[in-house]
Amino acid sequence: MAGMKQIHRRGHIFLQQFDFIGVQSLTVITFSAIFIGAVMAFQTYIPLHQFGMESFLGPSVGIALTRELAPVFCGIMVAGRAGAAIAAEIATMRVTEQIDAMEALGTDPHDYIMAPRILAGTLVLPLLCIYFILIGCFAGWAIGTLVLECDGAVYWQQLGWAVDFTDVWQGLAKAVIFGFFVSSLGCFYGYNAGNSAESVGVATNKAVVATILLILFSDYILTAYLPYDPSNLILH
């Protein structure tokens, strides 16, 4: 019974963090997706037009967003918004002795503060990534049809044909890993902050810079080595 109550209490914090990291990031993710999708449409249209391959606009935008741009930009945007806030909040708790007070009251801060945030960040980023892909593809379609005068039906038909399960799996696998990095590095730098007011800023800065660099580095590793087919993970 006590265990159930504790799960309920942690569940409440998890939902708060899910809302903070995920739902409250929707505005910034929406605008990022619109602009990235629109720019992708413009940039890929130029070479495609030179070869008379405008019908490949949908696949270009769709694959680039799904495999690469959505997870990376979601990771970076959420690192700047929520990762920084997590680091600052926990560092402030450290400076004001709230973490010491929690330990003194017999509650493990790793369990109470960090676990719900890391879990929420890891689970919410793939959902944001799916949302980013959808909005980005619509933005690409809008630019393609309204500005570049491409055929909208061909855009969707070709996009649907080109983007398959393996693209989605790779994009979402990256998003899960980036979500873990964003929330866990925010928690790590916040928790290990010093005891001065300055250390809150330092922890926040370190968390954002380290997360973005780790996202970019691991993106390269994942792109190079993540199996094209997820079943290969099990076979290997």
Partner: protein, 261 residues
């Protein structure tokens, strides 16, 4: 799980032996030996930077000593083992200098924090305990829904005190409880420390600079200087000990405070 010390006796709540702690080239503690008697109010005093608060943090297990041991009711403190710390900390309560209330929680949730985390109480039982705890520190339930940011400095300390004694610790520690408070609130907090100690029959440790209130509340004083305990004993004994540093601290501080009045 816990290691009993051979020299432990029932009238000692905390036994500190040979405690040394350095930060780089700064040697804060140079071999502290101190016994905190059960059921008494002990003031740990000394100048700024002498390691009073550090000693409290080591007793709480927030910081490990470089050398030396701390036994609490005969159990050896080990800051590297959270489960063991949790076991020992059930005896301990602490009031931090600025209260350290959880900003994101209301006054009610702050006071009820350990009740909810560690006990299996119903909502009505928790409500009753919170009301009783707030009342014991002189606050009404009307404050329960407030955020910590809506409270004054004195009220924050009272809420933090209610939170600290919620699990009925045997030892209550106060880290400079009157620092930054006006004289009226200082007196109120000091009286509260005495009342809470008597009401709950607590072993109390107070870290303080304030020589003015110490003689009316303390039953035992430990004076730290140069990383060592230079005096331990009853408050009036500080005027009889032949130690220039002890005399300088207590006589000059007391004279300075009286002149200021």
């Amino acid at each position: 799980m816990t290691q009993a010390t051979s020299s432990y006796t029932d009238d000692i709540a905390i036994r500190v032996r040979g405690l040394k702690k350095s930060f780089g080239s700064f040697h804060i503690h140079n071999g502290i030996d101190l016994d905190i008697p059960v059921g008494k109010v002990t003031y740990i005093m000394g100048g700024s930077g002498c390691g009073k608060s550090l000693l409290l943090k080591q007793i709480m297990g927030f910081i490990s000593p470089d050398v030396g041991t701390i036994d609490i009711f005969g159990e050896r403190m080990d800051a590297t083992n959270f489960q063991k710390l949790k076991h020992i900390r059930r005896h301990l309560g602490i009031l931090f200098q600025n209260g350290a209330l959880f900003d994101s929680l209301s006054v009610y949730d702050n006071v009820a924090f350990s009740l909810k985390e560690r006990l299996d109480l119903s909502k009505s039982e928790t409500d009753a305990r919170v009301e009783s705890l707030l009342k014991s520190v002189g606050l009404a339930m009307v404050h329960a829904t407030k955020a910590p940011s809506e409270l004054s400095g004195g009220q924050r300390k009272r809420v933090a005190l209610a939170r600290a004694v919620a699990m009925k610790p045997k030892i209550m520690m106060y880290d400079e409880p009157t620092t930054g408070l006006d004289p009226v609130t200082t007196m109120m907090v000091t009286n509260l420390i005495r009342d809470i100690s008597e009401e709950h029959k607590l072993t109390t440790i107070v870290i303080s600079h304030d020589t003015h209130v110490v003689f009316s509340v303390a039953e035992n004083i430990a004076f730290l200087k140069d990383g060592k305990v230079r005096y331990v004993g009853p408050p009036r004994g500080v005027f009889e000990v032949e130690d220039a540093d002890v005399e300088e601290f207590f006589v000059l501080e007391t004279r300075y405070k009286e002149e200021k009045k």
